[in-house]
Amino acid sequence: MKIILKFSQKIMQDPLLADVVLETGVRINIDRAFVDPSIGEIVIDVPDERVEEVAAAFRRRGTEVREMDTPIVFDEAECVQCGACVSVCPVEVFEYKNDRTISINLKRCVLCKTCIAMCPHGALKAAEE
């Protein structure tokens, strides 16, 4: 499952991820990280059965933790099945099916949002954060 971590400038210097990995022993995969002077945001992938434990470890360290349930909203009525989204996605959310329609597997999404700008028909939008 994918989780979004948000942390303030105050704790940005701390090796949060390393600490949590050492504490829990869970193998965490970093999908995306964004840091600017005021806030840090990291999307991580955690095995489903360990999510509670990992989330709790981050919360104890002052991190805001949220599940990323519906990262991208897909509007089927606007989609023309061109597949412009297919080649810009870093994690292969979109794929051509045999009938040339597009299959979408949002579970893989890391919310880089490249597809949102790429879609000529505005069929992809970011879920309200």
């Binding site: 023309v80 412009a84 080649s87 329609t101």
Partner: protein, 497 residues
């Protein structure tokens, strides 16, 4: 045994016609041979659905009371061309809204009209004795227009080049987002379903050919602009009644940081009059080749990287210099097939008869580049000699040079005369103000944005703008500084054009 078009239309009327879509023909001809295929199949339908910027609609608004001669007219703040008779105007797909910019354009107005939505019309004119009124405003919908005739100067490109990007930054183009370092490739066109590729000698597609245009019956007007049949880049000019169109086959689009375009759905039926036509409609995705171009080079002639087939492109992955590059189609093959299938169904049930062209399209036209009064100057023609310095000199020495030579930028070079950094007058002031830096080493910018002598100055100007800087050292292939080009000098030059 050749068939006549009249025989085929007779079969359409009595319901015995046999119609297939063009993607089925390779297998049919492969199995039966072209002679038997020509006997069996009466009509092959083609289709395409993609961004076609050269599209638009002629409208007639009817006369107001008192009447006006519109000199300018806007629909939802998108200007339409009104330099014709009093209340006629042409709205083009890529014209942008004056209030909403890249978010809304002529294509959206056209889609809104087809969707039976109301749009706000506003027009101004100069008063004459016969047209005394100066302005008019009204909400209108498609039923209020006397005529709404789609007339697209260039549609249905036979094939299209593939776009990719060699540079280190993301490019936003009419071929979509191109990721850095060949991160992806985008293409367009329906390959085996391509109307012109199924009739490459223009035997049945010509002036007056009846076609499927965005759900309506339309016609081929003639060749499209930039028609280049000799190089398999043929195009068509088409027209049709907007009032009979459907948003199932017509969609407005926004290409990020580029502008708006219209996705147009076109289906062209090809009557199988003889064996030769049957053979040509058997063309497959593997037979249709196109070229991968590097859109990282902002010139008319972009470097050609490789030739690929539509079969490879549609596989979702191509090989480029040993690297696997993912591909995206900007046009929809699914919709193209839907259009070819819908057209086949209409013919099958007798709702669409075929028409032979009244005149043939040019088969040898060639395209010239734009006639330009003068070539865009190259960087080498306008660059100035640059004063360079070594990184070991003090901030004060650098300040002296800047004041003494009246320059704002000092490229910093190594012992072997290679560019290693740049210092500006601002960097010097800052160093003085903060009381730091004995040498330039600590204050210079090391990632220098540069220009090369053989590029047009417009590219250098765009680079200055993008990085929000005011000068580019000009370097040769050995990274040696051979001059400098500044925004000050460029703006003087551009102002004189």
């Amino acid at each position: 045994m050749p068939k006549s078009l009249e025989e085929i239309n007779e079969r359409i009327r009595d319901g015995s016609v046999y119609v297939v879509t063009a993607d089925e023909m390779p297998a049919i001809v492969g199995e039966l041979g072209s002679e038997d295929a020509a006997r069996e199949v009466d009509v092959v339908t083609t289709g395409t659905f993609g961004a076609m910027c050269s599209s638009g609609v002629w409208m007639n608004f009817g006369h107001s009371d008192p009447p006006i001669k519109m000199s300018q007219v806007w629909l939802n703040d998108v200007e339409a061309y009104a330099g014709v008779a009093a209340v006629d105007a042409f709205i083009g797909a890529t014209q942008l809204s004056e209030t909403r910019g890249l978010e809304y354009g002529g294509a959206h107005v056209i889609e809104d009209l087809v969707a039976r939505k109301e749009v706000h019309m506003r027009a101004v004119g100069y008063a004459t004795d016969c047209y005394p009124r100066r302005s008019v405003e009204a909400p209108i919908s498609i039923v209020d227009l006397n005529e709404a005739t789609m007339l697209n100067p260039r549609n249905a490109y036979q094939r299209y080049n593939v776009a990719t990007n060699s540079t280190d930054r993301v490019l936003y183009t009419y071929m979509g987002t191109l990721l850095p370092r060949f991160g992806n490739a985008t293409f367009s066109g329906s390959g085996t379903l391509s109307p012109i590729y199924n009739d490459p000698d223009y035997e049945t597609i010509g002036v007056g050919t009846r076609i499927f245009l965005c759900g309506a019956q339309g016609y081929v007007v003639g060749n499209g602009t930039q028609h280049d049949p000799a190089n398999s880049f043929g195009t068509l000019m088409v027209c049709g009644d907007l009032k009979a169109m459907s948003t199932d086959y017509l969609r407005a689009a926004i290409l990020h940081k580029y502008g708006t375009s219209l996705y147009v759905g076109i289906g062209i039926p090809i009557p199988v009059l003889n064996e030769g036509i049957a053979r040509k409609t058997a063309i497959s995705d593997a037979d249709i080749k196109t070229t991968i171009l590097d859109y990282g080079v902002g010139r008319r002639s972009r470097p050609e990287l490789k030739t690929v087939s539509y079969e490879e492109l549609k596989s979702g992955m191509i090989d480029l210099n040993g690297k696997e590059v993912r591909t995206s189609s900007m046009s929809s093959f699914f919709k193209a097939k839907e259009i070819a299938t819908e057209l086949a169904a209409r013919i099958q049930k007798g709702a669409f008869e075929l028409a032979l062209p009244t005149a043939r399209l040019p088969r040898q036209a060639t395209q010239k580049p734009m006639k330009q009064l003068s070539a865009v100057p190259l960087v080498r023609e306008v660059m100035l000699p640059s004063i360079t310095v070594r990184e070991a000199i003090s901030v004060q020495e650098a300040a002296k040079i800047i004041v003494g030579r009246q320059v704002n930028h000092l490229p910093v070079i190594s012992a072997s005369n290679k560019l290693i950094g740049i210092v500006t007058a601002y960097d010097i002031s800052k160093a003085v103000a903060l009381n730091k830096g004995d040498s330039l080493k600590g204050i210079m910018t090391r990632r220098v944005v540069t220009a090369t002598p053989d590029e047009p100055i417009d590219l250098a100007a765009r680079r200055l703008e993008r990085h929000n800087i005011s000068a580019l050292p000009v370097i040769d292939h050995t990274n040696t500084v051979i001059g400098i080009i500044t925004s000050e000098d460029l703006s003087k030059l551009l102002a004189c054009r």
